[in-house]
């Protein structure tokens, strides 16, 4: 190994809720932990989530996402976790004694050797193709959310939100709070994808939710000047006579998230395809360990869910990595079982059941892969 290369027992890529919780558990067990994140502040999705979180009380629900992020951050600090920021990780190389993680910082290439590697890179927004979709004024909902909540810039005044999952519903609400008009939230499916309580908030504010509708084009010369939408039949075909034009200057697209799995591919992890979880997912076992020994995955990278489940998966990965390093003391097994019980409880009900089945399928793939 190159002399002087930076070393850590656990290297975590991604400082969102999953990465931070992994760090808390691993460092709590005594490991030397380094988190690397490409942003200028850690917290991942949490810092733009100014709304009070749903979820369970134990997962700090009822608290605003940004406050949860700040709490987790304090905890990692007090445990002596090193956080490297503004540092995109671009390469992973198998090496004696672990994995070399290459990242860029201040325009320079750097590397660190991690005995154990935890990938907690989260998920990215899906795009939607439609005529006019490249006009300025068409953007991802998460992008609009970063603009209003982090940079305090209103992306537009008259907005059409596409997609009724929780992201679309919540960002629509936050755009209303920021002072924009949300002319309509449209959804191609015949029903609302996200939670009713979030939908009710924007309905009370006067924003219509149009299920069975899609965007057919964005119209404008140099930027979005209006938006054409149309009703759909049950086969998702445009219904004649239902097209109309809304005078919007902004289109926000919230049509799902896909796990950011590039690094897991690079590490050589085996994948499986589970559409309910967002596509290609690195196979992992009950310890969140992938098919590459010593490489773990946690949070939205294993299928987009919620911060609550991301935190639990992070904890599992952190505990398991510490255990594999021979650090964890006595109660490891019970702790892991408790986490699984809490996660399974979160994955019940009409919204959670499908994720539970998908996650069960994922663990099944791990068992198959291990044989």
């Amino acid at each position: 190994m190159e002399r002087g290369m930076k070393k850590a027992q656990v290297v975590i890529v991604g400082g969102g809720p999953a990465g931070l919780c992994a760090a808390i558990e691993a460092a709590g067990a005594g490991a030397r932990v380094v988190i690397i994140d490409e942003n200028n502040s850690p917290g991942g999705q949490l810092f733009k989530q100014i709304h009070k979180f749903f979820g369970s009380f134990e997962h700090k629900a009822g608290m605003r996402g940004c406050t949860i992020g700040a709490r987790l951050l304090e905890e990692t600090k007090s445990l002596g976790v090193e956080v490297i920021l503004n540092a995109p990780v671009y390469g992973l190389f198998k090496h004696e004694g672990g994995m070399v993680v290459s990242y860029a910082q201040d325009g320079r290439e750097k590397a660190i050797l991690g005995e154990k590697l935890i990938l907690a890179t989260g998920a990215g927004e899906n795009a939607l193709a439609f005529p006019g979709g490249t006009l300025p004024g068409v953007m991802g909902a998460g992008c609009a959310q970063t603009m209003i909540n982090v940079n305090r810039v209103l992306p537009g005044k008259r907005i059409v939100m596409v997609g009724s999952g929780n992201v679309g519903l919540i960002v629509a609400y936050q755009l209303l709070q920021a002072g924009a008009r949300v002319l309509a939230l449209i959804e191609a499916a015949p029903y609302i994808g996200g939670y009713g309580v979030h939908a009710s908030k924007i309905r009370r504010a006067g924003t219509p939710i149009l299920v069975g509708h899609t965007i057919t084009r964005a119209i404008g010369k140099a930027q979005v000047e209006s938006v054409e939408i149309t009703g759909l039949d049950e086969n998702f075909q445009a219904l004649a006579g239902t097209a109309r034009v809304l005078e919007a200057d902004t289109v926000c697209v919230a049509v799902g998230l896909s796990p950011l799995t590039e690094l897991a591919w690079m590490a050589g992890c085996d994948f499986t395809w589970i559409p309910q979880l967002g596509g290609h997912i690195p196979i992992h076992n009950e310890n969140m360990e992938t098919t590459i020994a010593g490489v773990y995955a946690a949070g939205d990278i294993t299928g987009s869910e919620e911060a609550s489940t991301a935190m639990e998966e992070g904890r599992l990965a952190g505990i398991a990595a510490a255990e594999a390093l021979g650090l964890a003391a006595g109660r490891t097994k019970e702790m892991k079982l408790e986490i699984w019980a809490r996660m399974n409880a979160l994955r019940t009900g009409p919204f959670g059941q499908r994720r539970f089945e998908a996650k069960t399928q994922l663990l099944g793939s791990a068992r198959k892969a291990a044989q």
Partner: protein, 179 residues
């Protein structure tokens, strides 16, 4: 510009709990309880993984239990109408209703996370679950406490007949103003 509503009824289709869903909702107490004084109205009708309301109520009037996806159940007999649960619900789905405030008026309290906040004593257009105007109301109180963490609670006095209908200050009216 008017955008027509969809035909199907119910929270999953419109984002608004239907009459039937509200009638079956375990977070809404009985008719007699409303006669007796202020009480929480929990309009949470979908099984989602969420339970801060249960922990917010120190009177033990709200039970979600296990698994966490169960609907919150309100025990009207235990609810003392303190309103502590309102700002803790991330879904902004809990309201406080004092039906018999006077002979002709009720008080409705709801979380309101928009600026500007209305002035106490002012008259405001009040609306229903779809944000449409129902009746004018008087702002009796605007509560902003540290504990509520940025969520203002607004108490409006409204004509009694609308105590189960009015749930917000109309934002649509402001829209018309803005063109």
């Amino acid at each position: 510009m008017s955008v027509p509503e969809t035909a199907k009824d119910g929270i999953k289709f419109t984002g608004i709990a239907s009459r039937e869903e509200l009638a079956a909702c375990p977070g809404i107490t009985t008719g007699e309880r409303f006669e007796k004084g202020p009480v929480a109205v929990i309009e949470c009708v979908q099984e989602i993984p969420c339970n801060p309301c249960e922990h917010a109520c120190s009177s033990g009037a709200i039970v979600v239990g296990q698994p966490i996806t169960r609907l919150p159940v309100l025990d009207g007999a235990k609810c003392i109408g303190c309103g502590a649960c309102l700002a803790f619900c991330p879904g902004l789905a809990i309201f406080l209703v004092h039906k018999n405030y006077t002979d002709t008026s009720s008080l409705v309290e709801f979380p309101y996370e928009y600026l500007p906040l209305p002035a106490e004593g002012s008259l405001v257009p009040c609306g229903g679950r779809d944000g449409d105007f129902i009746a004018e109301g008087k702002v009796v109180k605007v509560k902003q406490t540290r504990q509520n963490d940025g969520t203002a609670l607004i108490v409006v006095e409204i004509p009694k007949e609308y105590f189960m209908d009015i749930r917000t200050i109309c934002r649509k009216e402001t829209y018309h103003g803005q063109g």
